[in-house]
């Protein structure tokens, strides 16, 4: 498993191919619809975490209001469907509203960075949560919006859990490829430059605010996509989805997995969704367990699971290389 991160390109390719095959064949080797649905949840929450990771990991901007953006695209989908729009129209409108909301978020919050950015995004997220609660004529207030039916593109009905899983998988893979291209592009390098040394980027001729703004839009797009998948998965959206705890949860996915890595948010999303859905069936106080795991991660691998695993693997292999094995010593002595 570790070779995925540290091995040569051939090993990495093989490991990724095995992972891909495992994801494609998942509905055939997991038992029951429940676990296929858990797989779908992991996939769309991973897209959400990848979106937040653009800001947290690559731009150094920690947002505590992303659940508001996630929720607003989910609400937009539900509301459009309630108005009688088709699924295509509802999804397009939700994407536009999601990205436009992120643009407004960015204009207001990019006036600051660090703790200021966190507080402004927190406040904006809470405003959206408050609107979801109080703007009853649109959002249904505490009762939320129920969505009837799921799309069936080319007769491929998303009401079937396996079909929903495969659509989520396609969206997830597209998101991963997009983020991988984004991060490796000159723009990605510039974004990381603004994270590390904004003043230096300024002196190199970059408009730091604009780079961060574009990064916000990309993050908003991925967040909106995951919000749409969420509302089609649950067929329901309520203010609870926009609450601060939801923002903290996705931030936890990013931080626990490893911010600023491609694999980190995916691992973090897997961890949090499994604890939330599977482990909560066995342990009543699953929040306590999640907190304990997070504390353990912070103490043992403060950089996150993925970079931490790379570091620990490096330590182990270096130690092995430094200590001559008994067989090697024997070989040396043998004439």
């Amino acid at each position: 498993m570790i070779d995925i991160f540290t091995g040569g390109s051939k090993l990495r390719f093989i490991a990724l191919a095995i992972l891909l095959v495992a994801l494609i064949t998942l509905p055939f080797w997991v038992t029951g619809i429940y676990y296929i649905n858990v797989g779908s949840q992991i996939l769309f929450y991973a897209v959400f975490a990848l979106g937040l990771n653009i800001l947290v990991g690559y731009a150094g901007l920690v947002s505590l209001g992303h659940a508001g953006l996630f929720g607003i695209s989910a609400y937009a989908t539900g509301y459009m469907l309630q108005l009688g729009a088709g699924h295509g129209t509802a999804i397009a409108v939700a994407l536009i509203i999601g990205v436009a909301s992120m643009a407004v978020f960015a204009v207001l919050s990019l006036r600051s960075s660090g703790i200021g950015f966190i507080m402004i995004t927190l406040a904006l997220g809470q405003i959206l949560w408050g609107l979801a609660y109080r703007w009853i004529s649109v959002t249904g207030g505490d009762n939320g919006i129920s969505v009837r039916g799921r799309p069936a593109p080319f007769g491929f009905s998303l009401s079937e859990p396996i079909n929903f899983y495969y659509v989520s998988l396609i969206v997830f893979l597209v998101a991963v490829i997009m983020v991988a291209i984004f991060v490796r592009s000159p723009f990605g390098a510039a974004l990381m430059g603004t994270r590390d040394q904004p003043r230096r980027m300024n002196a190199l001729g970059y408009h730091v605010w604009m780079i961060r703004f574009y990064a916000c839009l990309f993050s908003g797009l991925l967040t909106a996509v995951s919000g749409i998948l969420f509302v089609y998965y649950t067929n329901f959206i309520s203010p609870q989805t926009l609450a601060l705890t939801s923002s903290a949860e996705v931030l936890l996915m990013v931080i626990s997995g490893g911010p600023g890595t491609l694999l980190g948010p995916i691992v973090g999303a897997t961890l949090v969704v499994i604890i939330k859905t599977v482990v909560s069936g066995f342990i009543e106080r699953w929040n306590f367990l999640l907190g304990a795991i997070f504390v353990a991660i912070v103490i043992l691998v403060p950089e996150g699971i993925v970079p931490g695993a790379i570091r620990l693997w490096g330590l182990i292999t270096r130690k092995r290389a430094a200590t001559p094995t008994a067989s090697a010593a024997t070989t040396e002595r043998t004439p």
Binding site: M192, R195, L204
Partner: protein, 240 residues
């Protein structure tokens, strides 16, 4: 003197309430090298920051090839062909060597008279960077980091290069390598301001010398004249 590449004219600059630069004026000629000397806290780096637009001059004017850039932001000054190799290198430690250079890439301006700098030409000048192109910049030695900082500035295809203590913290052999590179850059026709604390390094390469003392210009001279005036150097630099 040739055409003015960079001119600071009666510049006053402040850090908060601290009056750091007082009525500072000097001029860098095109394709020349100006050595900016002074003790710690004399205002050398502040002059560089003002020239780059990182610190706004409260009074006075800054011009680049005759154009007033006093009120411009750093990215606009960079677009006019000014690049800074900052003190302490300030490379992007979490990016690879190649990414550090890629980030700084900029096409030469219309006024540029030099062959454009590309990744290949920077690697040709610093072969060691090419060997380490895929390595994280944080893992480079001090000398290599300095080469990367210079290479990064060159990738912006500047007409004016501001170098803030490029020899700081480097071993003597590496300092010699860096100075040889600076000499080559000067020969290529680049206009350079070289900030240093060690006057001997500057005297070997600079055409003109400005010595700052407590935020003001104390001496404007040439290396040849200053080499003959130990008393003046002792007075303002206190190193002889």
């Amino acid at each position: 003197m040739a055409t003015s590449a960079l001119r600071l004219e009666n510049v006053d600059a402040f850090y908060g309430d601290s009056h750091v630069l007082q009525n500072v004026s000097f001029e860098l000629g095109e394709a020349r090298m100006l050595g900016l000397l002074g003790r710690n806290g004399a205002g050398k780096s502040t002059c560089m920051n003002v020239g780059m637009g990182l610190l706004a001059a409260r009074r006075g004017a800054v011009t680049v090839f005759g154009e007033d850039v006093t009120k411009l932001s750093p990215e606009l000054i960079a677009a006019r062909g000014v690049a800074l190799v900052p003190q302490g290198r300030r490379i992007f430690r979490s990016l690879t060597v190649r990414e550090n250079l890629l980030v700084a890439g900029r096409k030469p301006g219309s006024g540029s008279k030099h062959a454009p700098w590309t990744m290949d030409t920077v690697f040709a000048m610093f072969p060691r960077l090419k060997e380490r192109a895929s390595q994280m910049a944080a893992h480079l030695s001090g000398g290599e980091q300095q080469m990367l900082a210079i290479g990064r500035a060159l990738m912006g295809n500047p007409r004016v290069l501001l170098m803030d203590e490029p020899s700081e913290g480097l071993a003597p052999q590496i300092v010699a390598e860096v100075m040889a590179t600076i000499r080559k850059l000067k020969e290529s026709g680049l206009s350079i301001v070289l900030v240093e604390q060690n006057p001997n390094l500057v005297f070997d390469v600079a055409d003109d010398i400005v010595i700052l003392n407590t935020g003001g210009v104390a001496v404007v001279s040439t290396p040849a004249a200053l080499r003959q005036d130990d008393a003046l150097l002792r007075l303002h630099l206190g190193v002889f």
